[in-house]
């Protein structure tokens, strides 16, 4: 097992669950005023001569907004890019499922928006657990993203005058969200995909679809390659390169039920973690307030109703506990429009974590609606009355159709039922300002890194971050790394590759040889239940400890009693899933430990011990104003490093949306 570059761990025993360390790699943010940082940094970064670029190979894993845009842009610059995705085509990365929109500080509406305000909203929305320098850059670059997408042919919604249309979104009081019907993610991803295709056409990017990354290879402590499995032939292969870029998305599927694609997984980042990359804030998981409620045991997937519906919908539950009347028969004065009541200034547009928790609270009180009382109404009736059915249809037609397909209910007549569901992970591999992890040459972009959203992500900001990382940040910082590094020639014949290949093969064989009694899904579902029940929307010490105790047992059960049918050298979907679940079974444990250690409430992480009398989250800036960056420590307990967060520009304040 390769280890971290520098021996900088000074383990200190702590709570018997982890070690604490005082060391932390620098965040590499340039000095000077925040508004000039990125420009200054771009000027200071080293460049690679255009004729030398094709001599460098960059391995990009993932082909979503971040990975696809990075691969295309680096290819465009002249580097030799190899791009890998587990899907059968880069066009299917799960960025495609984002519905609502993408934020940008264009201020086209002249409604008081600015780069600074987007920066401010994002830091505040993330409950002061994000790095200011990164967030400012995100807000700054957001402006270029929209230009780039429009130039690439993304058909954003337009007004009659031909100008771009925008709408408002949760957590913001300006209309800065650009959208393409309810399919913004799809249109942005297709724009990226088309740009990627252009580079494939030019021979600058070689695409490896249906290829899963199973390990990262370090040579002398530097990321120099990856191990992949061809999901059609089962061949386990090694790829060498000069830099590795992971844009493999989030790990919310650890909960089994989520709005993620079924194939979304944490394997790439988890393998990197196990090779020494720090994992930032693993317990920060966004629970989205507007998903279609669970229907039954067999359920495999939760579907989101875009948050944009909250623009025109009013959230309510009956005032009385156990009121089983159909919604139409509950008179106006017996309804509790609880978001409007509790958060009068943001109302139905309160940020996601707050809206989710409020929904949980009313359901815990027994006022939930629908099967099992796990749901609240999102009522469009007032808007339909005010704007007409046609306008609503124009805005949300495809969502309404989808809702009807799934539930069999007509959302124009009966209020939509929603319930929170796991949607996004703010946590991810720790990266510096250059989006490089603590392993030199290992870059992490998009949802896979921990960076810009702190403890809670605002709506329509995921697309912004993916494209910011992919189009603008990585294509500047990766070349800088290449230009300033002396590379020793490495091929896949290097012992480090042989070793990693061997480890991967052994692991695959081991999974196939168990032939126990339980299916992968049996164990996976149990893991999901443990995660949701004990590390879900509301967390407390006792629950977390209970859940944490269960994970090793599940892991043991997996490695002794799972049944993976078929062989390694063939298309084997159960084997793919088994590998992912095996990693979730380890990641889940780290999430519990992180959630346990952070005894404050912040953003999406709500510790029941830490709340104000009115039930609002109580942050503890004195003790927790840091990013928890976890280091793998072999079979021993993980090591906690802390990146302290300084807030020079946005003043620490209680995050209130009242």
């Amino acid at each position: 097992m390769a280890t971290v570059v520098e021996p900088r761990i000074a383990p200190v025993k702590n709570d018997n669950l982890w070690y604490a360390s005082d060391s932390m790699p620098p965040d590499m943010a340039p000095s000077g005023p925040i508004a000039e940082m990125w420009d200054k940094h771009r000027f200071e970064m080293k460049l690679v001569n255009p004729s030398n670029r094709r001599k460098f190979t960059i391995l990009v894993v993932g082909s979503g907004l971040a990975g696809g845009a990075a691969a295309a842009t680096l290819g465009e610059q002249g580097y030799n890019v190899k791009c890998f995705c587990y899907q059968d085509s880069p066009r299917r990365a799960h960025s495609i499922a984002a519905q609502g929109g993408i934020n940008a500080a264009k201020n086209y509406r002249n409604d008081g928006d600015s780069i600074y305000r987007l920066f401010y909203d994002t830091v505040k929305g993330g409950d002061f657990r994000a790095r200011e320098s990164n967030v400012y850059r995100l807000a700054e670059v957001s402006v270029n993203i929209i230009d780039q997408c429009v130039a690439a042919g993304v058909p954003f919604a337009r007004e009659y005058g031909g100008l771009l249309d925008t709408r408002s979104f949760g957590g913001a009081q300006v209309a800065r969200t650009f959208y393409a019907r309810g399919q913004t993610g799809q249109q942005l991803l297709l724009g990226v995909y088309q740009g990627l295709c252009r580079q494939i056409d030019r021979g600058m990017v070689k695409m490896y679809p249906r290829t899963e990354m199973l390990d990262v290879v370090l040579v002398d402590g530097v990321a120099r390659g990856i191990i992949t499995r061809d999901m059609v032939t089962g061949a386990v292969e090694a790829h060498a390169g000069d830099a590795v870029v992971l844009c493999t998305g989030g790990y919310g599927n650890v909960y089994y039920l989520s709005t993620y694609a079924r194939g979304s997984n944490a394997t790439a980042i988890w393998r990197a973690y196990k090779r020494g990359a720090l994992f930032g804030n693993p317990c920060f998981v966004q629970i989205h307030p507007t998903c279609i409620p669970v229907k039954g045991e067999y359920q495999s997937k939760l579907t989101l109703m875009s948050e944009s519906v909250r623009n025109d919908g009013r959230v309510w539950v009956p005032k009385k506990v156990g009121d089983n009347r159909p919604p139409g028969q509950i008179p106006e004065d017996e309804r509790d429009y609880y978001l409007e009541r509790m958060y009068p200034s943001f109302g139905n547009l309160a940020p996601r974590d707050i809206a989710s928790r409020a929904a949980k609270r009313v359901c815990d009180e027994g006022r939930g609606v629908g099967p099992g009382g796990l749901g609240v109404y999102l009522d469009l009736a007032d808007s339909i009355k005010r704007l007409g059915k046609k306008v609503i249809e124009e805005r949300y037609g495809n969502l309404m159709e989808m809702y009807e397909q799934i539930t069999g209910e007509n959302p124009y007549e009966v209020p939509i039922r929603i319930f929170p569901a796991v949607h996004y992970t703010m946590g991810g591999l720790w990266v510096d300002y250059n989006l490089m992890s603590n392993i030199p040459g290992l870059f992490v972009g998009g949802e896979a890194n921990f960076s810009d959203h702190g403890a809670n992500r605002l709506g329509a900001s995921a697309l912004m971050q993916g494209l910011s990382d992919g189009y603008f940040v990585l294509p500047s910082t990766v070349p800088d790394y290449i230009a300033s590094t002396k590379f020793k020639p490495v091929t896949t014949d290097d012992p480090a590759f042989k070793e990693a290949l061997n480890e991967t093969n052994v692991r695959v064989k081991r999974m196939l040889s168990i032939q126990g009694e339980k299916t992968v899904d049996d164990i996976y579902r149990e893991l999901g239940q443990v995660m949701w029940e004990f590390c879900g929307m509301g967390r407390n010490d006792a629950d977390l400890r209970t859940g944490l105790a269960r994970i090793p047992k599940l892991r043991e059960e997996f490695w002794q009693n799972v049944r993976v049918p078929g062989e390694g050298a063939e298309l084997n979907q159960q084997l793919e899933k088994a590998g992912r679940v095996a990693d979730f079974l380890e990641l889940g444990e780290l999430m519990f430990i992180d959630a346990l250690h952070r005894t404050e409430s912040c953003g999406a992480h709500f510790r029941e011990e830490s709340q104000y009398p009115d039930g609002e989250a109580k942050r503890d800036d004195e003790n927790f104003r840091y990013v928890a960056a976890w280091e793998y420590n072999g079979a021993d307990k993980p090591v906690l490093h802390k990146e302290n967060l300084d807030f020079e520009y946005v003043h620490l304040a209680v995050r209130s949306y009242k």
Binding site: R158, G162, R181, D201
Partner: protein, 248 residues
């Protein structure tokens, strides 16, 4: 619900393949089609068999990964993707035939999984606008009339599932190709490469071995993104113009 499934099983691309019959009594009208297949697969695994391989990913109808032919209709014929097809559309006791997409450019990889890389190669041939990163003018610098933008969006919503090819009696990829051509050719940004794009994409489409369009409209009838046949007319028109301009 009790169901009998006749499922196409094929070990790999070389295998000849055959139908095999499975039964389940655990189906529920509120399940999605894929969830029903999940249950059948769990049962197969427990009995020591090889589960049915089928493509799926987002399970919310947008990624375009899933797709099987159900009782002779790609995606089952309810205007959705296979993953958004719910079992309430089937009757208790029904026998359901499940086959993969069938077309020469879509070789079967295993069971119900086919290789649709041919569709990617059509886009690679020209389904893009050459806008290098960082070179873009202000997004509001070029006005796009709302009707054009809306029309482009109507075509841009293609999810690339390949149901159009599977449904076409000729195995034609015209609706897929036309949707991208129509989307990009309708926008001002798409004009400079309009005719080369059209010519190159059509040449690639033909090279892949897809059949020709005879305007049956089966493609549009099964299209989960509801892409209209007018896309094909636009493609034809632009190819004709490309030819007259000597681009093709």
């Amino acid at each position: 619900m009790n169901l009998t499934l006749k499922v196409w099983r094929q070990k790999n691309a070389q295998d000849a393949g055959r139908f095999e019959t499975y039964t389940t009594s655990e189906a529920d009208p509120e399940m999605s089609f894929m969830e029903m297949l999940d249950i059948v697969n769990q049962d197969i695994i427990r009995k020591g068999g090889d589960p049915i391989a089928f493509d799926h990913d987002c399970r919310e109808g947008i990624c375009g990964t899933c797709g099987v032919v159900i009782n002779g209709v790609p995606h089952g014929g309810h205007g959705t993707t296979t993953c958004q097809l719910y079992m309430r559309h089937f009757k208790d006791g029904e026998t359901i035939t499940i086959e993969p997409w069938r077309a020469r450019p879509f070789p079967v990889l295993k069971d119900l999984i086919v290789d649709r890389a041919a569709l990617d190669r059509i886009i690679v041939a020209g389904g893009y606008i050459s806008a290098s990163t960082g070179s873009a003018p202000d997004a509001n610098g070029i006005l796009v009339p709302k009707p054009d933008s809306d029309a482009a969006m109507n075509y841009a919503v293609c999810i690339g599932c390949g149901a159009c090819v599977a449904a076409c009696p000729n195995g034609s990829a015209m609706l897929f190709t036309a949707a991208k051509v129509a989307h990009l050719n309708l926008l001002p940004q798409g004009q400079p490469e309009r005719y080369t794009r059209t010519a190159n994409m059509v040449a690639q489409m033909d090279k892949e071995g897809f059949g020709g369009c005879t305007n049956h409209g089966e493609c549009t009838a099964v299209c989960p993104a509801h892409i209209d046949m007018s896309a094909i007319a636009r493609l034809n028109r632009d190819l004709l113009a490309a030819t007259l301009k000597g681009v093709a």
